[in-house]
């Protein structure tokens, strides 16, 4: 007998409910349980970086190593890490109330080092500041992502889910350190991943590996034997933009007040 309207509605209601339940269950099955790499526990690490300004010589090895390791586009303006040079003029004794304005430059992000002979004269204070993603514990970029395509992993690294990212650029705008960019090839957000594929295999990051003076050091704050604890205790430590309370985990020794 042909189904009447009431029966038809009842059948399609049941079909809808069962299909949605089944597809939810199927998705769950397909996704599987996220497995840690064998031997690497997500809850055993809390990654950060320690940077010693007084040792940085502005050679640009870190910038070149990062671009090589992570296949970053070679054009300028795409940097996962870069080096800035600050040149602070001396206070003029004739006009001591005039506050000296630092000059900041970063030619091609420091990729070729700083090739000019630095024409600044005596009395100028000059230094280099390597910068990268600070892997903030209270990250503004994670907060603003509308779909959860960027996140802080349980071991403290802020990562991008390339499969989910829409390229809306909200995170690029939100980052106070300017460390995010849109990869021109995939049109998704990209940034320093703290060489996640290396640190989870017991290697150090490419930038720390390449640094000849030991100015950059990968640190694991959860490891009681890590040298970071002595580093934080024995030195004057700053993070970039502390007033923004981002929980930045890149710790600078010897960071001058002129650095923004």
């Amino acid at each position: 007998m042909a189904p009447d309207r009431r029966e038809f509605l009842a059948q399609s209601g049941k079909l809808l409910v069962l299909t949605s339940l089944a597809s939810a269950a199927w998705e769950y099955v397909l996704a599987g349980t996220p497995e840690d790499a064998p031997g690497y526990r997500l809850d055993a690490h809390w990654w950060g970086m320690a940077i010693d300004i007084e040792r940085c010589i502005g050679c640009g090895n870190c910038v070149r190593a990062c671009k090589t390791e992570n296949d970053v586009p070679l054009e300028a303006a795409y940097f996962r890490t870069w080096v800035e040079r600050y040149r602070v003029p001396p206070i003029d004794p004739q006009h001591p109330q005039v506050e000296p304005n630092p000059e900041v430059d970063s030619p091609n992000g420091g990729y070729d080092g700083f090739p000019d002979k630095d024409p600044r004269g005596e009395g100028w204070k000059t230094f280099f500041v390597p910068k990268l993603c600070n892997h903030c514990a209270h990250s503004p970029c994670v907060q603003v992502c509308p779909i959860g395509a960027t996140f802080e992993s349980p071991d403290g690294v802020v990562l991008v889910d390339k499969k989910r990212c829409l390229g809306c650029r909200y995170c690029v705008q939100a980052c106070p350190y300017g460390c995010r960019f849109i990869d021109p090839r995939t049109h998704t957000a990209d940034k320093c991943t703290l060489c996640y594929h290396r640190i989870t295999r017991g290697l150090t990051t490419a930038c720390c590996e390449a640094c000849p003076t030991g100015a950059r050091l990968l640190v694991d704050l959860k490891n009681p034997n890590d040298p970071v604890h002595a580093f934080l205790k024995n030195n004057s430590i700053q993070v970039l933009k502390p007033n923004m309370a981002t929980g930045a985990k890149v710790y600078y020794r010897g960071l001058d007040g002129a650095v923004r």
Binding site: L21, A65, T68, F127, A210
Partner: protein
């Protein structure tokens, strides 16, 4: 029943519409939200593994020591002891995996040395830096210095 609640059929129709809408939403959500979303936080847990999927290009200095322990011994105690091998020789993970597959190039005369050691007012004063013309008349650095043990003690 009380007279006020006698006409309730219209409410049932509204409730049915809401019910269908909610079910449709839940069905769509089940389809579009990945299964491992929300396991650790507001993100797809599989993305952590995705970020590990990249072959390293730098091997790290410990990998070099496995075969080149003679060079490691030469560098011990020198000013370059803590400089990584790949800082000068480039990314060599492929070479560490299969030495025949990739032969590292020897860095050219002065080009690689001057990246660090070219005199610049921005560099810290304790760091050894020279003007190539004054120091060596433009000669290659390794004419006098052994890059693996640059000092002359």
């Amino acid at each position: 029943m009380d007279g006020r609640f006698r006409d309730y059929a219209h409410l049932l129709r509204m409730a049915a519409l809401f019910g269908i809408g909610i079910l449709a939403f839940l069905a769509a959500r089940a389809m579009f939200v990945p299964g491992d979303f929300g396991v650790y936080g507001f993100y797809r847990a599989g993305a952590i593994e995705d970020n590990r999927e990249r072959t390293p290009k730098f091997a790290g200095r410990e990998a070099c020591a496995d075969c080149h322990d003679d060079i490691v011994a030469k560098r011990a105690g020198s000013a370059h002891e803590r400089v990584g091998c790949e800082a000068c020789h480039g990314a060599l993970h492929a070479h560490a995996e299969d030495p025949a597959a990739l032969t590292p190039e020897r860095p050219e005369g002065a080009s690689i040395c001057q990246m660090c050691h070219r005199a610049s007012a921005s560099r810290p004063e304790w760091f050894p830096q020279v003007d190539a013309e004054e120091h060596s008349m433009g000669q290659a650095c390794n004419a006098c210095h052994d890059p693996h043990h640059p000092g002359f003690e």
